[in-house]
């Protein structure tokens, strides 16, 4: 269980007016759930992820993972970045095995586990290739396999499919849903796409900028169907899906002054 309590992050700005990137956010991420944070640019969703990952210190509040307070980056939280961060000098297999190498897992064992994960993300045939010979979608799959390799308690995904074309993006969403169904990992997923949020989230939190806050949260269950059928079409034309999409869209596009009081 990941617990976020009254988390605030304030950046000093050059004009003296502090920027409240994150303003008293509280959120729980239960095991085996996918929490998707959606919102416009600057709503603090990436700040939230970076704080959980330990890349950014909180100005106020606490974040705990299974009772342990988060103060620094660590191997118990796997991160998948928007821009892939694979090491160009290592082949795909060694990239996936990197976290295991840091833990001192012997070479044979870490390669075996990494091969297994490459199979899970459908890249078994690319183990020996350098990452720069792979397409953007494939590189993100390697990134997911790498984050899963150390068996982290939670997977943090920062707009991982944002830079992909829409077709690849759909394949990747499908892949993530099936990986989630197989591993039962708890996931925090950041996106600016409402459709993606509804397709993947078991909980969707809508965030708004200046100051970065959670303005609404919804529970959804489309991801289970999606993981089973692998077909995005019927899900996105579901009546409830369309209703929720409309509701979230109007929340995101609401003028800033009218937003107070919508917090559920």
């Amino acid at each position: 269980m990941l617990r976020i309590r009254d988390a605030s992050v304030t950046f000093p700005a050059s004009d003296g007016q502090d920027v409240h990137a994150l303003d008293h956010v509280s959120l729980d991420i239960a095991p085996a759930s996918i929490v998707v944070a959606v919102g416009a640019s600057g709503c603090g969703k990436s700040t939230l992820l970076n704080a959980i990952a330990g890349f950014l210190p909180l100005s106020e509040g606490t974040i705990t993972l299974d009772g342990q307070e988060i103060v620094a980056p660590g191997g118990d939280r796997g991160v998948v970045f928007q821009k892939d961060t694979l090491l160009p000098w290592a082949n795909v297999l060694d990239n996936v095995a990197l976290g295991l190498k840091y833990r001192g897992v012997p070479r044979g064992e870490r390669h075996e586990r990494s091969r297994h994960l490459l199979e899970l993300v459908g890249l078994a045939d690319f183990a020996e290739k350098p990452p720069y010979e792979l397409s953007g979608g494939m590189r993100q799959r390697v990134g997911i396999a790498r984050a899963l390799a150390t068996d982290p308690k939670i997977l943090l995904m920062d707009e991982p499919f944002g830079a992909l074309d829409s077709l690849t993006r759909e394949t990747m969403q499908q892949l993530l849903a099936s990986v989630w169904a197989k591993t039962g990992k708890q996931i925090l997923f950041i996106t600016h796409s409402i459709e993606e949020a509804l397709t993947l989230g078991t909980t969707i939190v809508v965030m708004s900028p200046r100051p970065g806050r959670i303005v609404a949260r919804f529970d959804a269950d489309f991801v289970r169907d999606f993981a089973e059928s692998g077909d995005i079409g019927p899900i996105q034309s579901h009546r409830r899906f369309i209703e929720l999409r409309q509701e979230i869209r109007s929340l995101i596009h609401q003028p800033e002054g009218a937003r107070t009081g919508t917090l559920q």
Binding site: P73, G74, W89
Partner: protein, 282 residues
Amino acid sequence: MTLAANSPTSFQPATAQRKPSLRPRRAASTSTFGISLVTLAGLIALWFLAARFGWASPLFLPSPADVLTQFTAVAADGYANGTLLDHTLASLGRIGAALGVGIFVGIPLGLLMGLNRWVKGIFSVPIDLYWGLPPLAYLPLLIIWLGIGETSKIVLLSLSTFAPICFAAQAGVRSVPVERINAALSLGASRLQLFTSIVLPSALPEILTGLKIAIGAGLSTLVAAELIAAQSGLGYMIMSAANFLATDVVFVGLIVIAALAFAFTSGMRWLEHRLIPWKGKL
């Protein structure tokens, strides 16, 4: 190809292929190697012609044949207290020692300067101060301090190779993408693992670029220092020959230096190909 096939005037793809194109095709056809080779041959031919038809006095431009004769003579019998090989080895020994100092002191210190505010604060001032000076300006001072022997020359050369390598290592550390660091930290990397598995390899392209600059700086300082204060080396040989207006021996010296520079450049290219084939790829 497709365009050519559709065009009514060209029936054979082969004709179309021979046409000059501004568009990039295969890698082989974008290589400039052939063109460079022809240019080099042209320059040598021009030299032959100039000597053959006496466009310039042999005092200014000796014929290729004379230079070749001198080359074998200097290689076999020597010139200015040593054979060509002696002079070449003397020069190579100096630049080799200087590059050794530059690499073994410059890289670690540069890495530390990139990693630690204190180290950077302390060392950047003296390095900035001396790096701005032309090496030959402080050579007399080094000779006063260290004598006319090898020490002053090697120190001079080391100073000129050290700074670019040190700066490059420092820049290399600071050029590591922050996402790459964060990724490694979230995979559980310790500080030492972060350094060896992420920072060092990420800094390698910059370090090799610094090494290339250091070799260039070292070679020019080397020859200049030998021209002024040495009893051996290619620069000394050239200077001695020039004093007797032995232009052909000057040419021999210049050709050997050019060959050395070319060998260094090729060696660096090979090293980059081996160590960082991924440079600029991701």
